[in-house]
Symmetry: C2
């Protein structure tokens, strides 16, 4: 019995809660699904599904193993995808979310001009690191400590405001007149919400007299923008992001926070593809002024 066929059948049945529906999904007949699942169960030494004629449910073993089986199918998909992309000469690059798509499109165009199909995919910080490690991409722009960075992007605070003077953290202090409801929050985007940055930020905030709850992670750009467009909250972001979102951006010297990125490559032969011109495009997309000198 083919383990992978069994795995596909099992996952399909678990998803649809039905052998018949799974058979339709898998383009085969229902007895085949039944036998494949039975074969997988035999190999794993126990029932994965509890079948009544009315409903199908996962057993304890099935619950425990479902994600392992999905991981196996993920590894298979990853292998086949890698082979296909190698065949097409495609290089898969993982980049941060919430940056200017046009910049990434420009990067893709320049790579195509150099004869390479660069497949750019946006992903969150954690997922980018994980997926690159799992081999689902050939290259990734990953957060690193400043010393190892290829690009360093300064962060500031952005809001819709008519303020002209420089901004300092103290200006976000809650005032009695406004009341606790109207306190300005300092919103950290998912891309920056690492423990290290958050703790550093909370420390600076506390030193400037801000309350602990004023600094918090924003679940999405949309929710963050809601507060910033209303003139209530301040978003921690780059100058380019603020500009794209039509916000005023202020450097805050007390913060001195940055995003530090490095281009990580799976194989060393990607070095020739990512030449200085492409790296400048990446810098532009990230909002970095210049490339770091290693």
């Amino acid at each position: 019995m083919d383990l992978i066929s069994g795995a596909r059948a099992f996952v399909a049945v678990a998803r649809r809660q039905s052998f018949s529906a799974a058979a339709r999904d898998e383009q085969t007949t229902q007895p085949v699904i039944s036998r494949r699942v039975a074969g997988l169960e035999a190999q794993l030494g126990g029932a994965l599904l509890e079948r009544n004629t009315r409903q199908v449910r996962l057993t304890a073993l099935g619950t425990a193993l479902l994600e392992h089986v999905q991981a196996l199918l993920g590894a298979e998909r990853s292998l086949v995808d890698a082979a296909a992309s190698h065949h097409r000469g495609t290089v898969r690059l993982l980049v941060p979310r919430d940056l200017d798509p046009a910049r990434w499109a420009a990067l893709r165009l320049r790579a195509r001009g150099a004869g390479t199909d660069l497949d750019i995919e946006e992903a969150g910080r954690e997922l980018r690191t994980l997926r690159f490690r799992l081999g689902e991409a050939d290259a990734a722009v990953l957060p690193v400590e400043t010393a190892r960075a290829d690009w360093v992007v300064p962060l500031g605070l952005a809001q819709v405001t008519d303020r002209r003077r420089p901004l300092s953290l103290g200006a976000l202090r809650p005032t009695r007149a406004l009341g606790p409801k109207a306190a300005s929050n300092l919103l950290v985007l998912a891309e920056d919400a690492s423990g290290q940055l958050l703790s550093a930020l909370r420390e600076s905030a506390a030193a400037s007299g801000l309350a602990a709850h004023q600094v918090h992670e924003s679940p999405s750009v949309v929710s963050a923008l809601a507060g910033a467009l209303a003139g209530d909250d301040w978003i921690l972001c780059t100058r380019e992001q603020a500009s794209a979102w039509r916000l005023q951006w202020f450097e805050v010297p007390e913060l001195a926070l940055t995003r530090a990125y490095r281009l990580e490559l799976r194989t060393p032969d990607g070095r020739q593809l990512f030449n200085p011109a492409l790296r400048r495009d990446i810098a532009a997309a990230l909002g970095a002024n210049r490339e770091e000198q290693p």
Copy 2:
């Protein structure tokens, strides 16, 4: 053609650089290996191996895909292992390295007394997190921020010394009499070598007048102990580790560094296994004084 059979054959040939040797390893005949590799190559759309009658070498595609194929086999192994351990009622726990093995043995014994076979495996900080996420263990003692921690272990500095007075960082300042060669180094073990801790430590060290190069990561406990036993270097470690290694341990108030751990569980039904008694054993193994109150 079975993808996994092909994968096993390919990896075996790549390892042994020979179809015949791979056939012996895989307990089958050489033509079978040949066909399985050919089948995998057909599925992936290109040659993985370059065969001369004298030598076998990886092609570019083979090089690019080898680790993906190994990942696939790893996922299969992981699935089968998880099924087997579930069947035996085994719970697999990943714990930090370089702690007292006897403490972990005591934990294992207590779990066995409660009717559970607890399979304890030591692994480095990064690998522990990665392997737990990949589902290669049911539970893991992972580093987290202090606020979420189940256990917090204070760190101090240890060395062979006859010093009786309290230690301060300034005592490690290089003196002209000793010369640059004889400067005391502050060694950080792999378990603590996170960017966050290292940067905090370097900052404290600089504030006490230490040179930047005096703080560095130690590749292994053995190499760290060589310096500490000679009375030259100071190891950053817990009181229990210092005691096991026959070193004198000093709390350094200027540092206030800790290891903060949390027991992460794959399935919520592990909560009843890891009762307060087992958690106390884990605390003892980690060198924590007491369990944190969440």
